[in-house]
């Protein structure tokens, strides 16, 4: 057998193994009732977000187009969710707002995960003063209270969707970094004892071929638990007026509801749906995340049940 063939079959074996592990994990996940509920909910939410153009007309979001609509209409007067103080359809805002909130949550999490994982893996892998410096920076970020930092950054960078995503991403990566680094450290023990270095593999090879696939499940679980944080952060920042004024989001809906006086009018159709929407998205991710964590660390399962 030539060396080329050996390499190929070696990699195939690894992929086969990974596929089997994935199938086993999926089977286990299917047994978790909360996890499945979360997954179904998430699929419905994503479906709704993707189908937004079909569910509600985006032009309905503009106050100009709503001039003819009744103001503060209840859902029975103006189905399905009534109107706000400008006469705009609350349902349209809800559908398109969920889309933005979901988008921001996922995008910000993506940044946080990528940065956090990169920092965590390199800090754990290389160790020494490099790791010490990185971890010091990470610790420092954790000490800064989130909301003030986010507010300052948002004020500095200006209100826009991209900036909000950036702000949340920047403030969320330290948790991921810490968790990933701990995992890499324990992996490092195993790997070095096993092989590769002796065979002359480069650090990059080790990190991408060995460390990364082994850390991925943990990163995935961490991801599903970071999204809720990101979405709640977006909601709060938008509520405080730091969100993109041109785009609806669930947080922005709450801000507008509040400042338009929905509270005193008891226009429940305006302030209730966005909050429930946020809860639904967050709960879906939390349920999935917990189920994933239990698969990764079976001890958690007996602790939780």
């Amino acid at each position: 057998m030539s060396t080329a063939q050996v390499t190929v079959s070696g990699r195939r074996v690894t992929w086969q193994r990974r596929r089997r592990a994935l199938a086993a994990a999926w089977r286990q996940f299917r047994h978790s009732v909360p996890g499945m509920i979360g997954l179904v909910a998430l699929l419905l939410i994503v479906a709704m977000a993707l189908a937004a153009p079909l569910l509600a007309d985006e032009s309905d979001l503009r106050a100009i187009n709503a001039v003819d609509n009744p103001r503060w209409a209840t859902p029975s007067e103006f189905p399905p969710l009534g109107t706000d103080n400008f006469g705009r359809s609350v349902w349209a805002q809800f559908v398109w707002g969920s889309r933005i909130s979901l988008l921001v949550g996922l995008a910000a999490t993506a940044i946080a995960i990528v940065v956090g994982a990169a920092v965590g893996i390199s800090a754990g892998f290389f160790g020494g003063w490099f790791s010490a410096v990185l971890m010091r920076i990470t610790e420092w970020f954790l000490v800064i209270p989130f909301l003030p930092l986010a507010i300052v950054l948002a004020a500095v960078l200006g209100p826009s969707v991209q900036n909000i995503i950036l702000v949340i991403g920047i403030t969320s990566w330290p948790v991921t970094a810490r968790v990933v680094r701990a995992q890499v450290l324990s992996l490092k023990e195993r790997l070095y004892v096993e092989r590769s270095r002796a065979l002359g593999a480069s650090s990059r090879h080790l990190m991408s071929r060995h460390v990364l696939p082994n850390v991925s499940p943990l990163i995935l679980a961490n991801l599903t638990l970071t999204v809720p944080v990101a979405i709640l952060s977006e909601t709060t920042l938008s509520f405080l007026g730091l969100g993109d004024p041109t785009r609806a989001s669930l947080g922005k809906m709450l801000e507008e509801a509040y400042s338009a006086g929905a509270v005193t009018r008891n226009a429940w159709w305006y302030y209730l749906p966005p909050g429930l929407g946020v809860m639904a998205i967050v709960l879906a991710f939390v349920l999935i995340g917990q189920a994933l964590e239990e698969i990764l660390d079976p001890r958690l399962k007996e602790r939780r049940s």
């Binding site: 209270p145 003030p148 709640l232 509520f239 709450l254 509270v263 005193t264 008891n266």
Partner: protein, 322 residues
Amino acid sequence: MSVKLVLLKVLGALATLAFVVVFNFFLFRVVDSDPVANLFRGRNLTQEQRQELRQQFGLDGSKLHQFGAYLEQTAKLNLGRSYISNEPVSEEIWSRAWPTIALVGVSTLLSTIFGVMMGIAAAWKRGSKTDYGSTVFTMATYSMPDFWLGILLLVTLGVSLGLFPVGGMTDPGSDATGLALLLDQAHHMFLPAVTLTVAYLGEYAIVMRSSLLDTMREDYLTLARAKGLRDIAVRNRHAVPNAILPVITLIAINFGFVLSGAIAVETIYSWPGLGRLTYDALNGPDLPLLQGLFLVFSAAVIFFNLVSDLLYAYLDPRVRTA
């Protein structure tokens, strides 16, 4: 616990604070390259007048010079002047600090007590309805934005039922003093306090439950039972004192964070604290005020992290007598 250790921790905290101070400067200089223009918006100034003002505020000269001036001023606790009110920032912050401390203090106390009780009940009766109910409750409260809960409470208890005032710390126009004043303030604090309590209760419950479940595996509980103690006594005299250590450190750390975490809730209730001040500053944007607030909030977190660290070292006899 040696004096040297304590000193080291304090020095560490001061170092972190120093970083924050430096970071603060650069962050805001990125935004506000010409504070004078901002400060005197809408007023026509000549170039000379501008230059003179810049000199007054220490804004002329190189960045390095400015940085030096900033450090010197911060050390003297001079945090600049608010753009909006033109009052010194430090005074603004000081006058609004106590309402926030009171609100957060009361909420922390309540959420700790109820959260710990719930966590103990859930862990000791693992798998029961109590446990399940507490999990549902904590998940629900975790997933809702705290200010949204505030809105709901405001609408139901404040607006609809009229049981509680919907804003502020005292009734406007009232000149009550002493006990009457205190009662009025408490009346106004009720809804925001309940909101914050419910928002943070879940976290304590989860940590307490988890910690107690770990403790419940330990052998010394079996020994306690063998001694003939009642189940409740085993739980309260042996399990809980061990399990509660991580919770106590969490309380201290959280206190630092919640001080700034109450921004949205204070806004909803118009509670005249640092949170509301931040919201108002945002609408300026009143940058010196924001800068000062950022510093204060960060300092609070650093301080309470230190407190939590020292507290744990003191409370755990294994660390204390090491």
